[in-house]
């Protein structure tokens, strides 16, 4: 069991997804999101934002990002992370785990106790995606920490 940190940017994508973390397709392991930061690093504007975290069953097409172990002694993660999606993950309808409406000027943080973590299964290419379904063209950054079991 090890903790990992990953930073997901949406800079050039035209999809609503900001980024995703998924179980490996051949060596899937469970992952647990426990700390998430949302914010924008673009031009300041008065825009309402809806952030969602949603389950998916296929990771779509994206630019790969390498999550970093919080303890350098830990092995590299088995999970895969991606940003700047050109093809959306296959989101599961009705499986929105987190939903927050905030202004673009604002930043938000959510963290969970051991019993409140968001878990994705050790199922090939299943995972959790972060998206802004109402504002797909705006620069958004998300930093999240997860535990892999």
């Amino acid at each position: 069991m090890a903790n990992y940190a990953v930073n997901l940017h949406r800079t050039a994508s035209t999809t609503a997804s900001v980024g995703s973390v998924a179980a490996n397709a051949t060596r899937p392991r469970r992952g647990e999101f426990y700390d998430i930061l949302f914010g924008t690093d673009g031009t300041v504007g008065e825009n309402p934002f809806l952030y969602v975290i949603q389950r998916f069953t296929a990771a779509g097409t994206s630019t790969a990002v390498t999550p970093q172990p919080c303890d350098p002694a830990d092995a590299a993660t088995e999970s895969t992370a991606g940003q700047n999606h050109t093809v959306e993950p296959t989101y599961t309808a009705g499986q929105i785990l987190f939903e927050w409406a905030i202004n673009q000027r604002a930043s938000a943080r959510w963290f969970a106790t051991e019993h409140g973590r968001l878990i994705y299964p050790a199922t090939a290419s299943n995972g959790l995606g972060i998206a802004t379904p109402t504002a797909p063209a705006v620069l958004v950054t998300t930093h999240l920490w997860y535990t892999e079991r």
Binding site: P28, R30, P48, L50, I53, G94, Q95, I96, L97, F98, E99, W100, A101, I102, N103, R105, A106, S107, A108, R109, W110, F111, A112, T113, H115, G116, R117, L118, I119, P121, A122, T123, A124, N126
Partner: protein, 102 residues
């Protein structure tokens, strides 16, 4: 709330900082915001149309004794998240076994 399972902070330069306890649904893992200072748990539910928070009574599953979201409360059945997780993973193992043999 006595035992929140999460906490959230929103920092906005043009508005007061918002801090909320959260609970994660014991059935589906949906994160629900909780109204602060309520003796009995009151959920804050986002109305997508108006983007405003509406207050709803909290929900507790009396089978698994966990806080659950209102959608799972409406469903009325107790399927703890651990059981759903095990079902997803066993289904995936079955598919991979079949594809490896096929």
């Amino acid at each position: 709330m006595r035992k929140p399972t999460g906490y959230t902070v929103v920092t906005d330069p043009d508005a007061p900082t918002v801090e909320r306890d959260t609970v994660t649904c014991g059935h589906c893992q949906r994160v629900v915001f909780v109204k602060p200072g309520t003796v009995a748990t009151v959920y804050l539910v986002l109305d997508r149309a108006t983007r405003r928070w509406q207050e709803e009574p909290g929900a507790l599953c009396r089978v698994c004794m966990r806080s659950i979201c209102l959608l799972c409360h409406d469903d009325g059945r107790c399927t703890p998240w651990e059981r759903r997780l095990a079902q997803m993973e066993s289904r995936d193992r079955l598919y991979r076994t079949i594809s490896a043999q096929g």
